[in-house]
């Protein structure tokens, strides 16, 4: 027996709608839950003062600074490498066995659990290269962890730039590099920024890889060779060691707000950029 199309139509719409609703509801619930538990301790004092008594009292200022520095190092290393690789794969090589192997490698790298990256970073950067637990070791490890994401999203963004733009640019006497700089990259920028933002999000949220490579010092860092503790690690230690549930949720609230703010800013900038050119 065949069900009349208008019933299947309605049913499909209903099921998809419910799926969307469930997703949104869970997201909103998590955010509200964390904020509800955390916001009471959050304030300028919490944000800008040093922790006392292992984080039981005081604020999280060195932790905030550590998170920012570590993420900055990771992004500053991963973005040029990742975007460069994506440009090379899409603009300077033809589809071949070699490019497929590189792409496959990047996909495999993206699927490796972060703790493996942490272990690698610990053995290679911390021990062999004797960088110690430091912002540099942690930043490099995170950079390698987010590199595949940046490569693949940038590659897709560059591929989606219409080929006619390249032809026009070449026909006006541009070289390959001039075309990449002036036409391809500006058009692919929204997609590339999305990839970088995903990388920022992963770096800020990462715990396992960071404990192994950047350590968990609560002191204010004075150079790239100092150990730091990121917000995620701080939250993990406060909660796991039962040091302070309130301050753990306070840290979590700031983490959530930070990621929201970063995404909103990137989204806003992108919209302005796209509106200006189209």
């Amino acid at each position: 027996m065949r069900i009349p199309p208008r019933y299947t139509q309605t049913a499909a719409k209903l099921v998809m709608g419910l799926a969307t609703l469930a997703t949104l509801a869970i997201l909103v619930f998590i955010i509200l839950f964390v904020l509800e538990k955390g916001l009471p301790v959050v304030g300028f004092k919490f944000l800008l003062s040093a922790p006392r008594d292992m984080g039981k009292a005081g604020g999280i200022f060195p932790v905030v600074v550590g998170t920012i520095l570590l993420t900055l190092v990771a992004i500053l290393i991963a973005t040029p490498l990742g975007v460069g690789t994506a440009i090379y794969l899409t603009e300077y090589t033809r589809e071949s066995r070699a490019t497929r192997i590189i792409r496959f490698g990047a996909d495999c790298l993206a699927g490796i659990p972060s703790i493996i990256f942490g272990l690698f970073g610990f053995i290679f950067f911390v021990t062999i290269l004797q960088m110690g637990w430091s912002i540099l070791s942690g930043g490099l490890t995170l950079a390698f962890m987010i590199l595949p994401t940046i490569i693949r999203t940038s590659e897709e963004a560059i591929k989606s730039v219409p080929n006619s733009y390249r032809e026009v640019s070449f026909s006006l006497g541009a070289t390959r590099w001039e075309t990449v700089q002036k036409v391809v990259l500006p058009s692919a920028l929204p997609g590339i920024v999305t990839g970088v933002m995903l990388g920022v999000g992963r770096s800020i949220g990462e715990t396992a890889a960071v404990i192994f490579t950047a350590g968990s010092s609560l002191r204010m860092p004075s150079s790239l060779f100092d150990s730091v503790r990121t917000m995620s690690v701080h939250f993990y230690i406060l909660a796991r060691e039962g040091i302070s549930t309130e301050n753990a949720y306070g840290t979590a609230a700031i983490l959530v707000i930070t990621i929201l703010l970063i995404n909103l800013t990137a989204y806003g900038l992108m919209n302005r950029f796209v509106a200006k050119n189209n």
Binding site: S164, Y165, E167, S171, A174, P186, K276
Partner: protein, 253 residues
């Protein structure tokens, strides 16, 4: 008008993989004239045009034999500078392709690449180019707005202005009016008849009437071969080849 030969092809053959697209073309193209190229789709018109600015170099598997001489120099010679060639030989595509930049930035794209950075000079170039392409009056008050917001006909004239701004010697047009309304088409055609005083123009068109209207010389291509080539008035009134006659009278193609 002077009858100097601007472009000459000698035994020109083009291949895409094992397939031969152009069959030994020998053509002399005169300066300061409009050459119209007509023929059914798949006859090699566009392949020929894209060989003249070596845009086909970008296509993997494309290969050329024989030679194309621009002012007597072989443009496929290994020492010939492709970038310089494309500055001398501009191309207008079938569909208008404004770059996602402002109107102004589109026009100065070529000049900037050539290293012109002086604002006053760029401003003058923009005004002169847009005027020659008959679009100045429509855009002069919004040079900073995105080129994508223009209508199709305006976009194509902007693309023509963009080519003029790079001060080329030859302009290639690949069915430039196929997507345009009659008024925009008329404006482009009017621009071309004036522009030929300064440039050598090669116009590929699917519209035989367009060739009859604007071209000085007309060439008829069929399956990669040049069937007939001569003054437009002769080709359309007393075609020498039966296939030319069949095509222009609409019996095939």
């Amino acid at each position: 008008m002077n009858n100097a030969i601007k472009i000459a092809t000698r035994d020109l053959k083009a291949f895409y993989g094992p397939e031969q697209l152009l069959m030994s073309l020998n053509m002399d193209i005169q300066a300061n004239q409009i050459l119209g190229i007509i023929g059914p789709s798949g006859s090699g018109k566009t392949t020929f045009l894209r060989s003249l600015n070596r845009l086909n170099d970008l296509v993997h598997g494309f290969r050329i034999e024989g030679s194309i001489l621009l002012d007597g120099q072989d443009i496929y010679h290994p020492d010939f500078d492709v970038v310089a060639l494309r500055k001398r030989v501009g191309m207008l595509f079938a569909l208008p392709v404004p770059l996602p930049k402002s109107i102004y930035e589109n026009v100065v794209y070529g000049p900037r690449l050539s290293g012109i950075g002086d604002w006053k000079k760029l401003d003058r170039l923009v005004e002169a180019s847009l005027k020659s392409a008959f679009i100045w009056d429509e855009v002069k008050d919004r040079l900073g707005s995105p080129a994508m917001r223009l209508s199709g006909g305006q976009q194509q004239r902007l693309c023509l202005a963009r080519i003029l701004a790079q001060e080329p010697e030859v302009i290639l047009l690949d069915e430039p009016c196929s997507g345009l309304d009659p008024i925009s088409t008329a404006k482009i055609e009017e621009a071309l008849t004036i522009l030929k005083q300064k440039y050598t123009i090669i116009l590929v068109t699917n519209n035989t009437k367009q060739a009859a209207r604007v071209a000085d010389q007309t060439a008829f291509f069929l399956m990669g071969s040049l069937i007939e080539y001569g003054p437009t008035s002769d080709l359309f009134t007393v075609p020498q080849d039966k296939r030319t006659n069949d095509y222009i009278t609409g019996r095939f193609g």
